[in-house]
Symmetry: C2
Subunit: 556 residues, 2 copies
């Protein structure tokens, strides 16, 4: 037992195969903690899927060991799986986060009707012990306020987990990264650093959030008509800068879009966003003001088709419509995969006669993740014995590993792992242990885990080539056709010869069935296969496509 506990097992369950669904397990003997519980947003390869969760079965099966869930900041790729995890657990587990992080989480838990969650507020500089784990939280900068990293001490070794971070020397809230804490951890001894890899390929230093202020102020002060500004609703400092620029230019702020309304309310209540009540007005009041006295702060910077900005561009938002002369500022960058949606919106806005300012034309966006010089500095501040790049695609993890080597972490001490891999730390060193159960779970409509790989593969085939359902009625007594075969197709490419093709298909199927019947086949599976092969062959010959074919035999 004592022997078993002499190892610290570090298992990233998500976040190592792309940006999103971050989740890391730290397990020491009979105790376990989880850092972050995020989702990933699906792309076109996942038709009809709403969310992607990391498969957290490993945690659920060992839930009696689970002492705490630490959330580093309030982004959905770190918090979004929390309601699903909590619903699955049979016991109460405390959730640790900073004030803003918990404020944002609280709203999500309410949506999921989770009422009895124990939320423990921490802040940069807090210390906490849970079983054999001792936590020291430290402030980091990111594209959402109040982010932290955590230094976790255990008898088997000490780990620094950075969360997502950049090193902003002029943060909007003046809250610097706690360099003193990091060097103190270094002094105590850091066995493993787990660090954000998102921008590991980017040379240099990510510019300060403050650097986008001048462009925002210039655009907002000089626009001759209304300004509509879109950004991530959780990017409170960006929102703050936009609101400040609006107020400085004598404009009142209209807030639009559900998450913008919610997050601005929470951030104002908790003191993270400062704007006078008198400077915020309802959309209905805006029409009484000259357009150059109004700024609309809204969601939609990712081109989401149902967002406020998309509705405004299409003329179907209930209160705001984009008009000729309006200036639209898209103060964000498209998340990979959203480029086309954002592009579509920019085209619609241009068509509606608006001037569109975006990161391609003016400096209205900076990243929330540190670039390679910052990542190297982080490595040099904590000087870890072992290093595991996290939060990124393979290319980012690999690049981050090379950065670690560049600052003289020995190559063999750099662990570029995958989800579900397990690193074991002990006094004698680090080693890769057997991988654990891991994967992804799709959330679709109301269901979790209903959509599997088979369903997705089916949907892709359906989307590519369509479907043909072939119904034959067979007399149960004689085994012979009781009526004409019926062929129903959807999504198939047919030429003008369509009717020909249908008639030919019927004729072929009749022949095929006669052959199987004469051959003595009575097994439905055999007959169905013959039907499928025969139709598939015909459709390939005639349309060069392979639709999904569903043979149905009705026995009467």
């Amino acid at each position: 037992m004592a022997k078993k506990a002499s190892r610290l097992r570090i298992i990233p369950l998500g976040g190592l195969d792309g940006i999103g669904k971050n989740m890391t397990v730290l397990e020491y003997g009979d105790d376990m903690i989880v850092i972050d519980a995020g989702i990933m947003f699906p792309d076109d390869d996942h038709p009809g899927v709403d969310l992607i969760l990391p498969d957290f079965s490993y945690i659920v099966k060992r839930q009696e060991k689970l002492r705490a869930i630490v959330i580093t900041h309030g982004h959905e790729d770190h918090t979004g799986a929390l309601p699903y995890l909590l619903k699955t657990l049979d016991r109460r587990v405390p959730v640790l986060g900073t004030k803003l992080t918990l404020g944002l989480i609280r709203g999500k838990l309410e949506e999921h009707k989770l009422k009895k969650v124990e939320l423990q507020e921490i802040q940069g500089g807090s210390h906490k012990s849970v079983g054999p784990f001792s936590f020291d939280f430290f402030a980091v900068n990111h594209s959402i306020p109040d982010g932290v990293g955590v230094f976790v001490r255990t008898p088997a070794g000490n780990v620094v987990h950075t969360g997502d971070f950049k090193l902003d020397q002029t943060p909007i809230d003046g809250r610097l990264v706690d360099y003193g804490a990091l060097t103190k951890f270094c002094e105590i001894g850091v066995d493993l650093l787990m660090s954000d890899s998102t921008n590991a390929e980017t040379p240099g230093v990510t510019r300060s959030e403050a650097s986008v202020g001048p462009a925002l102020r210039d655009i907002i002060a000089n626009a001759e008509h209304r300004v509509i500004a879109a950004s991530f609703s959780s990017h409170i400092h960006r929102v703050q800068q936009i609101c400040d620029a609006a107020v400085a230019a004598g404009r009142k702020v209209v807030v639009a879009g559900r998450s913008m309304i919610t997050n601005m309310r929470i951030a104002r209540e908790l003191g993270y966003l400062v704007i006078d009540d008198s400077d915020i007005i309802e959309a209905s009041e805006a029409s009484a003001l000259p357009p150059d006295k109004v700024l609309v702060m809204c969601t939609g910077s990712q081109g989401e088709p149902l967002s406020a900005l998309a509705r405004m561009a299409n003329g179907d938002h209930k209160t705001v419509k984009v008009e000729r002369g309006d200036t639209v500022v898209i103060a964000a960058t498209p998340v990979p995969g959203n480029e086309k949606a954002v592009n579509r919106i920019i085209n619609r806005l241009a068509k509606a006669g608006a001037t569109v300012a975006h990161r391609g034309t003016v400096h209205v966006h900076v990243s929330g993740h540190g670039a390679s010089e910052e990542l190297k500095l982080m490595l040099n501040l904590v000087r870890p014995r072992f290093f595991m790049p996290i939060h990124g695609e393979t290319r980012h993890l690999v690049a981050h590993g090379l950065l670690a080597e560049a600052v003289r972490v020995p190559k063999e001490n750099v662990f570029v792992l995958g989800n579900g891999d397990c690193l074991e730390l002990s006094k004698s060193g680090a080693r890769i242990a057997e991988s654990v159960e891991h994967g992804v779970v799709y959330v679709d409509g109301l269901g979790v885990g209903d959509v599997g790989q088979v369903v997705l593969r089916d949907r892709r085939v359906l989307a590519q080539d369509g479907i043909a359902t072939l119904v034959v009625t067979i007399d149960g007594q004689t085994g012979r056709l009781a009526s004409d075969p019926e062929l129903i197709t959807r999504g198939l490419a047919f030429g003008p010869e369509e009717n020909d093709l249908l008639a030919e298909a019927q004729a072929r199927i009749v022949r095929t069935l006669a052959k199987t019947y004469n051959g003595g086949a009575t097994d439905q599976a055999v007959i169905k296969k013959a039907m499928r092969d025969s139709l598939s062959q015909l459709l390939w010959e005639r349309t060069r496509s392979r639709p999904m074919i569903i043979p149905v035999i009705v026995e009467v």
Copy 2:
């Protein structure tokens, strides 16, 4: 008749709603010419579609007037629709292009078994007259050699069509844009300029193709192992620079990928690509050389899943496999919409242990389109009376229109049009006439025009929510159910309660049918609607999805 002919009608049939399928009609009385005949590549919104053509019915219906098809350069978005157009025409129409452009077209025509096409070679500086149209071709720079623009004179007015262009002061082949010709056109008088808008939003000047040379030479000279370089196969100057760097570094060149092999062969035969036979080797010979003496020049810079680079990264290319230590150079930028595919390849390459150099990390790519300073210079060189931005999305056309205003083209003389719009030029001025028939045609498998909007909409629904086919057998005599309803689903999200749901669906359908029967309904359409509504309702309640539902009634 004379009156009718006093107007020149300019009709862009494609290229004004995005990058691709460029095609412009110029019509004067009983004569007509077409400039470019391009395709567009489909995106995720067009599942199963291989190519998108502009709808050229307007041309086909007036084909007796068609005197010539002018092709400005050899890219597929300017040439790809040519085989389809030629196949549809009942008469021979000469195709005019430069040597390389015709060389590339010839290959395409052969693939389509089009043998008797009259190809007329022109070059920058050529003059040609066709009916009332007089052509002066002028050299331009672009990301393919031998591009031209054309000055078209007619009795009703003179038009400059730039094709795609940049103003490269140090082109690889030394072939400068013909500034002298442009100023001469200006002197003669340009009524309308139609100019490439792709980079109209980009400030400044596009860098010279020569500027990527140093980075390419540096990477290729210093790589310790094999180098694999991917680029567009038609970007002969990029290929030339890569080959030159390889030869300078003592590496032999292996060519991989069908279009790279074809285009390099054509370009070498015609003298556009210069590399010694002794410097090109077969893949089989490469294994005999040390890896640092080999460079593989291949396709796949867009992440195309069947391209040489993708196969090499996946380990299923028949002769080359990416190995640890290899350096891969992606000397291209992803075409919008291809970002994710390229990203996927970079991750696979990183996983395979290759170092990947791409435009995000080194200067290995420049655009082939002029940026805003070049576009303004073009306007100032030809000083047109009227201006029509072409080749771009709405945002680009609008931005280009503003550039024209900035160089003092009167606002009312700038025509930001859409596909199918018609601008009429006459001695008295320009006016927008009625739009003509236009649109898009999808090419899928072997067929042209088989896939319509209904098919695409169906495929999107299928991809999103799947399909449920509901088969009921009804006794033709009694009108009652002859066997249990059968439900077949594909691509549906089902939870663990799946069997429940199927049983419940069956029960509901039996009730629904009893109700319609008791209600006296015998019309199959009415019964099918009741079946569909009943099942749709159940699936929505239980899965919050709306799959396509196909009711089938078999009467026995």
